[in-house]
Symmetry: C2
Subunit: 341 residues, 2 copies
């Protein structure tokens, strides 16, 4: 049972449709990526299959598979191994969503209940493990073993980013460069890998592979800054998942770090008190936090930082020869930042 | 910093010493397996490295690496890839211990605090993910890609076994064949893989690979039955980890299944009541459960089942030509069943 592919890609597919045949190509490739994923994940029986079927609804715009395919197209063309790589990266992404929801005690994801809310933390932990194992199993079918090595390396780095973030929980003195180190590892590394693998499997030279990898990295950082902003100032019905989780969990993000560095002593003390109460479940007052952040221009500063990283991403593409796929990567970056969910 | 290898293997190494140079060979190979593992796991920095260093104490007798090496020796000899395969299987085993302790709310492992007790469930979940990713990363360095495919397949199966077990929580009607299906997947599959990979990497023919895989499978089932027995009738200071966890978590194991099938109606009703109370934290009365199991001969029946599976394991070795390693595999099976911790 294959889910209709038309739901994927969203605005990116609309943009692709404006670029000759690119919309059709991308639609086909996302559909075949889904077939590869489902074939890998649905070998399981019984309770595992039920959970897998449920978690497939977490697929959203399939940003990472889209990047694999567009990077491949921009670098010379696609092979069936692009579908495998796209499925691998998306499956690892799914695993991180399932485990992140356990870590965050999250109840809502993509407008539905999370696996942990529905079936408990234990099922969510094991299902995430099953997804990781499936990703690596699938990856082992790619003839070039350097792909599996890179996937292993990046998945390790991703976990290191998560552990670093956990280490800094309730660390209200978190420095900006450490924040960037965390989001680079936990988020940008996998998005960078998607673009890198797309280029690598298209036979691109080292410089081009590095350019695409850089594109993914800066895009990923911009993306995470945007995500962190939404957690602070988004609206739950629009975003479709629990918000305010970062404050609940004592996670410092860019707007808060900027605010604490720029507030006067009195405001700083007041914000620290609020952060303490939020992190210890003694307050749910997100509105006061939002007002405080606005007073120091910290929301705008974070938007500006996302914009700067986006510009870096687009600059990474400069050395590539002109193509519809390159043009779409450029627009995709812009679109990713516009997203409000 | 490499931990002294002499602590590994325990009784198996003592047995190996009685077989010519086998003790020395095995000691060397376990030591180089540890070097491979540490090189893989200690690439991380900061908080990840601290957790990795702590979790290395979970290494016990290194049953799985021992099986990789002995199977290799019994099938023609060892290569450096045996060290990699041994490190891969042991690292996946470590990951399952870390995640199992989260699932079981366990506080004690190898006479020390568990990762979840020390650092919380979140750190334990991510550390387990890091270990799985490390195992697959390491595995990708083996030239024969069929090894990585098998490791992926078996790790998926292992998760399916865990999910099946979770699905049957508080299922006091669990049938015996479903119990065997669970332990075959969650425990025996990885032990079977260790023996299989040892043979495969030594260039053994298909029949021999299947024989070693069978040896590991039956040994693994005997081993899990023994483990389930210890959880019911063992003594915490001797076993070195929390006991009674299966009853707390509503997990039906062989002695309990046997008891419920063989008790008279009155006893059955009384046991079901006790199981309910234990699973819902309303009782800690393990002694009554133990007496009930003894009254129906269910402890002895489980010991007998473990013995039967052990005999099957040893029979699997019959086709192999005589060698010190084959002899030691035979004794290792016997030794595994004698273990009281």
């Amino acid at each position: 049972m294959t889910t209709a592919p038309t739901q994927f890609g969203g605005p990116v597919l609309a943009l692709a449709d404006q670029r000759g045949g690119l919309g059709g190509v991308l639609r086909d490739r996302l559909a075949s990526t889904v077939v590869v994923m489902e074939r890998e994940l649905r070998t399981a029986g019984g309770p595992t299959l039920d959970l897998v079927a449920y978690v497939e609804r977490y697929r959203g715009k399939m940003l990472r598979p889209t990047l694999v395919h567009l990077a491949g197209l921009a670098c010379g063309g696609l092979s069936p191994e692009h579908d495998i790589a796209a499925a691998v990266v998306e499956t690892i992404h799914l695993a991180t969503l399932v485990h992140d929801d356990v870590l965050d005690d999250a109840e809502i994801r993509r407008r539905g209940q999370t696996i942990n809310a529905l079936h408990g933390n234990e099922a969510a932990v094991i299902l995430g493990d099953y997804l990781i194992a499936s990703a690596f199993h699938l990856c082992s079918s790619i003839a070039d073993q350097s792909v599996a090595l890179r996937v292993g390396e990046v998945t390790k780095l991703l976990c290191e980013g998560e552990l670093l973030q956990l280490h800094h929980r309730d660390d209200f003195d978190l420095e900006l460069d450490e924040y960037y180190r965390i989001i680079d590892r936990k988020t940008a590394s996998l998005i960078a890998l998607a673009a890198e693998l797309g280029a690598r499997l298209a036979g691109a030279d080292d410089e081009t592979v590095r350019a695409l990898e850089g594109f993914g990295r800066w895009l990923g950082i911009a993306f995470q800054i945007r995500d962190d902003l939404l957690d602070l100032v988004g609206e739950q019905p629009v975003v479709g998942k629990d918000l305010g989780k970062d404050l609940d969990k004592g996670k410092m993000t860019l707007p808060v770090i900027h605010h604490l560095r720029n507030a006067d002593a009195g405001q700083r003390a007041s914000t620290l008190g609020l952060l303490e109460r939020l992190a210890h479940g003694q307050s749910r007052d997100r509105d006061s936090m939002r007002s405080a952040l606005e007073a120091t221009g910290s929301i705008d500063a974070a938007k500006e930082a996302a914009r700067e990283h986006l510009d870096r991403a687009r600059k990474s593409l400069r050395g590539l020869s002109e193509s519809p796929a390159r043009g779409l990567l450029d627009e995709l970056a812009e679109e990713a930042l516009r997203r409000d969910r």
